[in-house]
Assembly symmetry: C2
Homo-oligomer: 239 residues x 2
DNA sequence: AATAATCAAACTTTCGAATATTGCTTAACT
DNA sequence: AGTTAAGCAATATTCGAAAGTTTGATTATT
């Protein structure tokens, strides 16, 4: 009942990002077909697509595995996110028209709304999947006026890799929302004010915050399946 | 005899980049199977991988098409290449050790060698595929000490898109090698001297040269299949 | 003449069986 | 005991046929 309606490709993709399968875990179509309610062939096809996207790796005759992540991957993803988001945001702030401002405001308010809900209810798990979508939509909209599909596509790869690691390995990811709320507000305010330097600085803060946190910390604790919880379907978000 | 031994995936990939199939052309497994000497199923699998990589697009029930490129795509690819190569090169120049220098020198000399051959013989077509490989190897090696697989992967996407357009749509691409030789020399010299500013400037020159050329030119003439020629197999480059 | 319904051809997707490969387990050998 | 070989079960890949979809041509209807 977790994935009856959705296409296996999407289910796999979401599952890889939100920790339904662990880093480096073997993905055997035969075994997954009941779980995802389809035949092994369509699963294989979905896996081939995801191999091209870099979320899955495969070696000839050795089948598929979820891509492995590590602290290094995370640092790389954060770094790439930073480069690309700064570049795209700068272009957006220069080029964005009135409709872009409207869209950004709408995206920001949707994001702020769910962040308030999370913060007030204290129930992170209930909202995290919706929050994650709104977070993406906010960043995507911020950059959307950069007018480069290729840049956006590269960014999405980095963003997904970033999120995959964060969900799986950073215990406090999803908590301490107040901080993130402020970060998003800073980005939004600077964007609307067309304050490029301020916006880029706010982006840098936002993207590197987890690295700074762990700078002199213990090496990230690896605790079992810290975030498979995030995949429990809300099931009621149709509207 | 064009692709007997190679895996269809590689043949497709090369063919898309070097103009064997045109921008937006429909790719029908049934039709291509004789040409690539395999069954349509294997082709389908290769196409799914390439869909994930962004070289092919597909819509449900409408099959596969070579990704369409345009002047805009090219500008985007050049832009992304520039951002990523500058970032990676800067890191490389800071971090690269003695072995990196050796590898870069080797790559540069291989590239310079084939560029000299092209220049002296005047026969661009004969060497272009080998040149293209050495060109890639040079840029890859230059950036290799940046120590980020994710960044390299993103770069390769931009590089391939750049090349795809250049091969297909820029008539003088492959000619006027003397210019390119100088550009590569400038990049190499600055890299070895650890002159970051100089190296980044040389990279910018190298990557944006075709855009500058066409700045006040007529819109790029679209002349039939200007570069399918590039795919004729050299067949003798085993060593 | 214009629009709608029907049909067939071409193609795409899905499927499960056939084939090949891997890695493990057991057996034989030194 | 340790090393190699043979056999076996699990899984990966390939294949071609079956089922479903799109497209465009033809015929029927307004």
């Amino acid at each position: 009942m977790t994935s009856d309606t959705e296409h296996p490709y999407e289910t796999l993709r979401q599952g890889l990002i939100y920790g339904r399968w662990k880093s480096g875990e073997r993905l055997i179509p035969q075994h997954l077909k009941e779980e995802l309610n389809c035949t092994s062939s369509v699963l294989r096809e979905a896996m081939l697509r995801l191999t091209g996207e870099g979320l899955i790796v495969s070696e000839k005759n050795l089948g598929f595995r979820a891509v492995t992540h590590s602290k290094d991957t995370f640092r790389e993803a954060a770094h790439l996110r930073l480069i690309l988001e700064r570049e795209a945001a700068e272009l957006s702030l220069e080029r964005g028209d009135f409709n872009w401002e409207l869209a950004l405001t709408a995206a920001y308010q949707r994001l702020a709304y769910v962040e308030r809900q999370m913060s007030e209810s204290g129930d992170v798990e209930k909202f995290i999947q919706h929050w994650s979508l709104q977070d993406w939509e906010f960043h995507r909209t911020l950059m959307s006026a950069c007018d480069s599909d290729l840049l956006m596509r590269a960014y999405k790869t980095a963003f997904d890799t970033f999120r995959m690691y964060a969900v799986a390995e950073i215990p406090e990811f999803g908590f301490g929302r107040e901080v993130t709320m402020n970060e998003h507000k800073a980005i939004y305010d600077a964007a609307i004010a067309r304050d490029i330097a301020g916006c880029l600085a706010a982006i840098e803060m936002h993207v590197t915050v987890y690295q700074n946190k762990n700078r002199s910390d213990t090496p990230l604790p690896h605790k079992g399946q810290p975030a498979a919880r995030l995949l429990k379907t809300g099931a009621d978000n149709k509207g």
